[in-house]
């Protein structure tokens, strides 16, 4: 099975029982660099897919929580090289891993080397929030050579024609931003968001995961049946920041 298919299959498998799959995000090296491997293992044990955030100085699609986490990780010397080395050391992680990174750290690493290094570390996919489909050809081609996914995002303001192109161009899953805005704000899930998610699902051959602003069991219940998975980011980062058990929090989110 190719790496990107592992993501799709993990989400479909988890969602088969009716509950949305759980895609969990952590900023690598936050709050403490020394705890990264332990946090990653704990989260991978409780989630279906893990997104590892590569810190960047100017995370323009993220809210204050992830911005703060990114700067704190950078202050501890966290780099993409270090993350890949740490991840490569962890064996037997059956949960597919994605890297979520802004484009510039990837360009600095070198797009041609990136795919191979990521594959060696066992990374199954990438999310690059400031790389629109129109500019993504080079990275997408490099990653595809290793079977690695480049996940595309869609938003409530995306026009129908573009929505179709994004869904067709994505691998792994389609990341449906549930609100316009940056990450981390709590949001009640209104009817039009449900309608939007249904629209995305109708366009997408891949599973659809909803993200941005998801932090409560009530929201997950509301989304059940309308999405294949939910992405939790800022709320989980805050759990780690408070020193609480991420696995337990994720289980509560699943209603277990």
């Amino acid at each position: 099975m190719k790496a990107h298919e592992r993501i799709t299959s993990a989400i479909r498998g988890a969602a088969a029982g009716g509950e949305p799959a759980l895609v969990a995000y952590l900023t690598a090296g936050f709050p403490q660099r020394a705890d990264f491997a332990a946090h990653l293992e704990a989260i991978a044990g409780a989630a279906d897919v893990v997104e590892i955030g590569v810190p960047f100085t100017d995370p323009m699609a993220d809210g204050v929580t992830i911005q703060r986490a990114s700067l704190a990780a950078l202050a501890q010397g966290v780099t993409l090289k270090w993350i890949l080395a740490e991840v490569a050391r962890l064996e037997d992680l059956r949960t597919p891993l994605l890297l979520m990174s802004y484009l510039n750290p990837l360009l600095a690493f070198g797009v041609s080397e990136l795919a191979e290094s990521a594959a060696r570390a066992g990374i199954s996919g990438f999310i690059v929030p400031d790389l629109p489909l129109d500019e993504s050809h080079e990275l997408q081609a490099a990653l595809a050579a290793e079977g690695i996914a480049l996940v595309q995002m869609v938003t409530p303001v995306t026009e129908p024609q573009r929505l179709a192109a994004l869904c067709a161009g994505s691998q792994g899953f389609v990341y449906a931003v549930t609100m316009t805005g940056t990450t981390g704000r709590n949001v009640a899930v209104p009817d039009e968001v449900i309608a939007y998610l249904e629209r995305v699902r109708a366009s997408s051959p891949l599973p659809v995961c909803a993200g941005f602003g998801i932090r409560s069991r009530a929201q997950v219940e509301r989304l059940r049946g309308h999405v294949d998975g939910v992405v939790v980011g800022s709320a989980l980062v805050e759990v780690l920041e408070r020193g609480e058990d991420p696995a337990r929090w994720l289980r509560e989110l699943r209603g277990r």
């Binding site: 323009m60 204050v64 484009l103 629109p132």
Partner: protein
């Protein structure tokens, strides 16, 4: 990037002169483009359509021309700096953007984009500001057109440009202090983008320089190109010939692109952009992006960038808030790569000396930003006795009084 890295140098310059750049993807050769979250694609597409439809249409141009004449005070004067010419050994001419309404070239762009925003049905305007000049210009343009305006400004800049904060508030704008990141222009742009992402279709982002995602570098250049068009005609009228050199300061690069554009086809005219050399050439001690940066992506555009080996954007230093930015417009990156514009640096100290010289010899207190260009002009003049040099005096220095109190006025007079 060296000239050799771009084999089609002549072709790219010709395309730029012919108005073919940016291309349909927003590229200036390899630079530019649109690197933004998906949420911003619809408003950027809408803006690009609006620019295509209105910017060069007769009706919009007439509306803009009327505002530029009756409200901004254009054309701005061309001044012969007779006493400094005598001291420096070459004829120094100043394009007086400091005389434009609100005290800097920023108003050319602000009123143009505010007119466009109104046409596109925007409910509110957000803007970022470094030195405060773009914030003041945006606040003024929004007041003029009756649009609500929110300006994001780094906390560090609010302190060193305090007079401009009060001006913005008097002009009816909401000024939001930015305490995240480096608390200067770059963090303010991050925050303005976040605001825009929250309401992409109702909010218009009035970006202040030739940076950011397509179509901003193009839109802002077109609105600032009036500087060079006027200056070129004024130089011909005043001296009967073109200057030997044109010099302007470069932060994001809007006054310089505006000044340079009309001269790109004049092969005999040397064009020099002056970046903030700060305290030293060391990373973090300056804001000289073309001089010391490498290509990368920040704030939606692929251009030169002050960054470390891991692609993290570096904090910058300059005595002038308006130049204190780790990126530069993609068109400058191209002009540097093809060698049409030479980029130099002027240090904090050289620029402050430029403030003193222009104040004492010509009775003009320039912005510290603009004084970077004066420092380079002095170097050029001393190396080219008898030559003629045109400097874009991008803004006035009143806003810099807090900084000048701590520097020039704190030191014993020479």
């Amino acid at each position: 990037m060296s000239v050799a890295a771009l084999p089609e140098t002549q072709g790219l310059l010709e395309a730029l002169i012919a108005g073919q750049l940016p291309d349909a993807r927003g590229r200036f050769g390899p630079f530019g483009g649109r690197y933004v979250p998906e949420t911003l694609i619809p408003p950027l597409e809408r803006l690009a359509r609006g620019v295509r439809e209105h910017l060069h249409a007769r009706e919009f141009q007439a509306e803009l021309a009327a505002q530029l004449t009756s409200w901004v005070g254009r054309p701005t004067a061309l001044t012969h700096a007779a006493r400094l010419s005598g001291r420096w050994g070459a004829q120094l001419w100043l394009k007086r953007e400091d005389l434009a309404h609100t005290g800097a070239h920023k108003i050319n762009n602000a009123i143009g984009q505010a007119l466009l925003a109104r046409r596109l049905g925007a409910r509110r305007i957000v803007a970022e500001t470094g030195a405060g000049q773009h914030g003041v210009a945006s606040a003024a343009a929004c007041a003029r057109l009756g649009l609500p305006c929110t300006v994001y400004m780094g906390a560090v800049d609010m302190e060193r440009q305090a007079p401009n904060v009060g001006r913005m508030r008097l002009l009816g704008a909401t000024v939001v202090p930015v305490t995240s990141g480096d608390r200067t222009l770059r963090a303010a742009i991050d925050e303005a983008l976040r605001d825009w992402v929250s309401d992409p279709l109702g909010t218009y982002y009035l970006l202040g320089s030739v940076v950011g995602p397509h179509p901003y570098p193009y839109l802002v250049r077109e609105l600032q190109a009036v500087i060079g068009r006027e200056a070129r005609a004024q130089m011909l009228a005043a001296t009967g010939r073109l200057p030997d050199a044109v010099i302007a300061c470069v932060g994001g690069g809007s006054n310089s692109i505006g000044a340079f554009h009309a001269f790109l086809a004049d092969g005999a005219v040397e064009i020099i952009g002056v970046e903030a050399g700060g305290r030293s050439p060391k990373l973090g001690d300056n804001a000289a992006t073309v001089a010391y940066g490498r290509p990368g992506v920040l704030h939606g555009t692929y251009s030169m960038l002050l960054q470390d080996a891991d692609g993290q954007v570096q904090e910058t230093h300059s005595v002038s808030a308006g130049l204190d930015y780790p990126g530069v417009g993609p068109e400058h990156a191209l002009l540097a790569a093809i060698g049409r514009v030479r980029y130099e640096t002027a240090s904090d100290a050289e620029s402050l000396a430029g403030v003193r010289a222009l104040s004492e010899y010509e009775g003009i207190l320039p912005a510290i930003e603009s004084a970077h260009a004066l420092a380079a002009a002095e170097r050029w003049a001393r190396a080219h006795p008898g030559g003629t040099v045109l400097v874009c005096l991008s803004g006035r220095g009143d806003k810099d009084m807090p900084t000048l109190q701590q520097t020039l006025l704190a030191a014993p007079a020479s």
